[in-house]
Symmetry: C2
Subunit: 236 residues, 2 copies
DNA sequence: ACCTGAACACCGTTCAAGT
DNA sequence: ACCTGAACACCGTTCAAGT
């Protein structure tokens, strides 16, 4: 649909297309998400975005303060949508797992969100995540005094995963993922590395072959089991 | 020591100082750490770095491929140093806690490391962290089949914390930290926010008053308890 | 072989001039 | 009130010219 380099000569004299509908923060955020998903984080520039919106780069500033605000709003929107799509479950433990997996799937579909979430502390998107996690912990019967630490622990875990996912995607955009991990695993088997890193050497094949989503899910289970154990066992 | 804006007139005609010792990757990395610690992430430019090194920006490329490599090498060096300083402990559970706290203290002293660690996946610094965690898990008696997931969970948790720490520091560089958290907590108490986020509303005061290091330490305990529970209980 | 620093190809952001 | 797009003040990186 885009006319990248050379356009067919048009019968009427070429004229710079100009948007007819009004520009809005919503439209900008939507266009930003499209660019980010299609071409990655580094492709989102004001020039690219304003071309997609058929306007000038300056026009964007009439609706959003700066690039950071565009990214924050885009991430927030996707987090809200992802949470709205999580089916409610009468079983509290299934509920918290469903929420955590929704986050994982969101980062899979939009890896740049992972980068954005570690850019501003306690931004709107993080509040939604914290709230969703906390609500389910409450339903799970976690005592009040553990709720803050428990919710933070789950949130920090998912943020760590999100960041790694984003950077892996940034680096391995074209490469296929398993070849990329195989390369790293092979590096762990190099004599020099292996000699000083025996644990990693032993884990190399698992790094190359593991199922990311399963491992994430297992990590969530570890933390949930820990929360349950500490709560039952009478404290930290 | 730096001559920032105006220099005293010197008796001999002013001459651009030129380094006498040879430039090296090590010297560049050391200078980069100094700049990053003193002035923050955004202050590290090739121009600033080459000024600190008394050379031209192009000279740096004779020793390191690009900015990413400088940051990765700087983070790696600090992680290695931090781990070298952790005293060995005969008690395995103290050992893993000491390693995890060493990471936390590292991010406190050099917040920019948190940003860097989520920039490249499985970079050298992460390998060191993974290895250190894994070695202690082995000592703790975690079964082989759980080691990869357990080590990854702890690593992802610490990476999440590191990222948040870095972004909080970036945003609140001059502001004092407690005032910054108070502001966010107050936002959670706003009528509009509180109505749709009751859990966060309830946690607001804890956000403002909690001890970061203690909470981190409690989070580590949750995960360790979960690993112990799952291992003892016969599987995920 | 290494250093120098101007030049290049970008950025995000601003702002006078338009409608 | 909003849009336009050239201009500004930066970046990281390159490279011809020096030593």
């Amino acid at each position: 649909m885009l006319c990248q380099d050379r356009c067919m000569p048009s019968p009427t004299p070429a004229r710079r297309s100009r948007r007819t509908d009004a520009l809005s923060a919503d439209a900008i955020i939507e266009a930003a998400i499209t660019v980010l998903d299609a071409e990655g984080e580094e492709a989102l520039t004001f020039r690219a975005l304003s071309t997609a919106l058929e306007t000038g780069p300056g026009a964007i500033y009439n609706h959003l303060a700066n690039k950071q605000e565009i990214l924050a709003a885009a991430a927030h929107r996707l987090v809200v949508h992802a949470l709205a799509d999580v089916p409610s479950d009468p079983d509290a433990e299934n509920g918290i797992r469903a929420v955590m997996l929704a986050f994982f799937d969101l980062f899979g579909a939009h890896p740049w969100v992972g980068t954005q979430l570690s850019r501003e502390p306690w931004q709107a998107a993080l509040l939604e995540m914290f709230e969703a996690i906390g609500t389910h912990l409450e339903a799970l019967g976690v005592e009040e005094r553990y709720q803050f630490t428990a919710a933070s622990s789950l949130l920090n875990f998912v943020l760590g995963v999100a960041g790694q996912h984003a950077s892996a995607t940034r680096l391995a955009r074209d490469l296929d993922r398993s070849a990329f991990l195989r390369d790293i695993a092979d590096g762990w088997k190099d004599e020099a590395t292996a000699a000083s890193h025996p644990f990693s050497r032993r884990m190399a094949d698992q790094l190359a072959e593991h199922d990311d989503r399963q491992q994430y899910s297992d990590g969530v289970d570890f933390i949930l089991a820990g929360i349950a154990a500490v709560t039952a066992g009478g404290g930290l």
